[in-house]
């Protein structure tokens, strides 16, 4: 009860902060649409090529874009953490009796909301252009990707609390972002990739999320790959939330 109230208050604070930066809201909505407008047409030529999964181009491509939005929505959390370390906000909140988990969840839930909003817009926009989402599958897909956003948001926040410097944080986050997303086959499915690359992809937790996302989008829910995706993503979410909460508990200096 007390925890739920604290989480609600702190999430409202973060949502209000985002709402007051309309540029970010605008960018968050337009960037995914750019993928649809500027990249999806290229893929149309690929459809039917050997190795390209069967089905409509957008049915393959769009779940990947949704994964990218989910991944990107959480990545920025660490920047906010460092800004609030510098202005003393985090220190002030840490002196209150508020649960450290609630301190973390404010930005995690804000980021989750900032994933859902553009994701719904992209889905709505894509439908007239030959995207065929399955309602049950899509709802499950969005639930899976909320877990992914929560995991990246907590991970980024924990890194911010650990590194305390924008430049170090940027180096780590952007350094990992590219290999993680490429290996996961986010934009082009890895069925096009040579065997060694497909093998390597199994070391990337995001790979399992993306694989599950493609199946879910077509309505396949009761499936081992989907289960695997949920297991890996939820496991990752639990681990990163625990790590970030521990960082809020100790955040020194």
């Amino acid at each position: 009860m007390k925890l739920a109230r604290e989480i609600r208050l702190l999430t409202m604070r973060k949502l209000l902060e985002t709402w007051r930066q309309p540029t970010w809201v605008f960018m968050g909505l337009t960037t995914p649409l750019l993928y649809l407008v500027l990249f999806a047409p290229v893929l149309r030529r690929l459809a039917g090529a050997p190795g390209f999964p069967r089905g409509h181009v957008l049915d393959v491509f769009l779940p990947g874009v949704l994964c990218l939005i989910a991944f990107g929505a959480g990545m920025g959390a660490g920047w906010g953490v460092i800004v609030e370390l510098d202005s003393g906000v985090i220190e002030r909140l840490r002196v209150t009796p508020v649960s450290r988990f609630a301190l973390l969840m404010g930005s995690v839930l804000r980021d989750t909301a900032m994933f859902l909003l553009p994701a719904l817009v992209v889905i709505a926009v894509a439908i007239p252009f030959d995207y065929h989402p399955n309602p049950g599958g899509t709802a499950t897909l969005l639930a899976l990707l909320c877990l992914l956003t929560a995991a990246t948001s907590a991970w980024s926040a924990a890194l911010g609390l650990k590194l305390r410097e924008i430049s170090s944080l940027a180096a780590v986050v952007t350094g990992l972002q590219l290999p993680l997303t490429l290996l996961a086959g986010i934009l082009l499915p890895l069925t096009l990739a040579p065997g060694w690359l497909r093998g390597l992809a199994h070391t990337d937790p995001l790979y399992y999320t993306v694989e599950a996302a493609r199946l879910l989008s077509t309505g396949t829910i009761a499936n081992w790959t989907v289960g695997e995706g949920f297991l890996v993503t939820a496991g990752l979410t639990v681990l990163t939330l625990a790590w970030a909460t521990a960082k809020y508990r100790e955040a020194a200096s």
């Binding site: 109230r5 208050l9 604070r13 902060e17 003393g88 002030r92 909140l93 002196v95």
Partner: protein
């Protein structure tokens, strides 16, 4: 009087690249309820580290600390309910308005919205925030922001308020304003623990002062006691150049009562005296008897430099502090 803060043998060591930094090396404290207690020392003396341990932000390596009757190490959550902290970096949420900051702070301490609104209204009145409280905090001047931050620290009526370098970075006008507000708090009975590296600040606000250096308390007492004990006053006088040789004048002044020292320096004489107000008439009489005319004469209170020098053998400005705000 009951004790608001009792600390015994507090210690904190940080590990930094291949060496250990002992930030706090056995600090004992006893602050009575209703008292304003100043922790005075240069940056790097261990003031902030001590405050962070007392306010549950840093784990205590060894020793014990009780704040408002609660063992800080054993029950940090109970301690947090009873204390407020205005840290060096302030902590106002700049994207929110002052009022939003205050209401959230109150609600995070468990107040319902109506109670938080009533308390916020009191503090808006007390700190004269009304003019700007509904604007976003990022538009505030330094002084306005500091007042909001002080109000934030008081939203839940803490029994003990910690102020870490409350006036660093403020201009003299805002500093004077803030002093006035801290005095108001003192009169209302809030126990205040403040850190500062300004002797004048400790002098103006505190009932009691502890001087810290290298993680230890080197002197403690009321400002008057400390000044009497540590810093005699300084008199600097410059005789007209054509008269009696300066060494001779210095030797003559040295024999006056309450004069501890009289040294010639660069055509002037520097005196260290126990009580300037009583020495000056005798000093002027002596100069008149000997028909010595003066170009200038100044009387100065002991500065933190003098106090620090007397207690540590080092000058404050030689402590190699790069962080110190201008």
């Amino acid at each position: 009087m009951t004790a608001a803060i009792v600390a015994h043998e507090l210690r904190k060591t940080f590990a930094a690249r291949r060496r250990q930094i002992e930030a706090v090396r056995g600090i004992d404290l006893r602050v009575s309820a209703g008292e304003v207690f100043a922790f005075l020392g240069p940056n790097g003396a261990g003031k902030t580290t001590t405050v962070r341990m007392l306010t549950t932000l840093l784990p205590i390596d060894s020793g014990t600390a009780f704040v408002a009757g609660v063992d800080v190490g054993r029950d940090p959550v109970a301690a947090r309910r009873r204390i407020g902290l205005v840290g060096q970096r302030g902590g106002a949420d700049l994207a929110a308005t002052g009022r939003e900051n205050l209401l959230l702070q109150g609600q995070l301490y468990g107040s319902d919205r109506a109670t938080a609104e009533r308390r916020a209204a009191e503090l808006i009145e007390l700190f004269a925030l009304g003019e700007f409280v509904d604007r976003r905090a990022q538009t505030y001047s330094g002084g306005q922001r500091r007042r909001l931050e002080l109000a934030l620290g008081l939203m839940h009526n803490p029994r003990v308020l910690f102020l870490d370098e409350p006036t660093t970075g403020l201009d003299p006008h805002n500093r004077a304003n803030l002093w006035e507000q801290i005095r108001t708090l003192r009169e209302s009975g809030t126990t205040i623990f403040l850190t500062t590296h300004y002797l004048e600040e400790a002098d103006a606000l505190a009932n009691r002062v502890a001087i810290v250096d290298h993680g230890r308390v080197v002197a403690e007492g009321t400002p008057a006691e400390l000044k009497r004990e540590l810093g005699s006053q300084r008199i600097r006088l410059t005789p007209k150049a054509d008269g009696t040789p300066i060494e001779e004048i210095a030797a003559s002044l040295r024999t006056l009562p309450l004069v501890e020292e009289a040294q010639p320096a660069d055509g002037a004489i520097r005196l260290t005296v126990a009580d300037g107000a009583r020495v000056l008439p005798a000093l002027l009489d002596r100069l008149r008897e000997r028909r010595i005319e003066l170009d200038s004469l100044t009387l100065a209170e002991p500065s933190l430099d003098d106090v620090f020098l007397a207690k540590t053998g080092r000058a404050l400005r030689d402590t190699g502090d790069l962080e110190q705000a201008p």
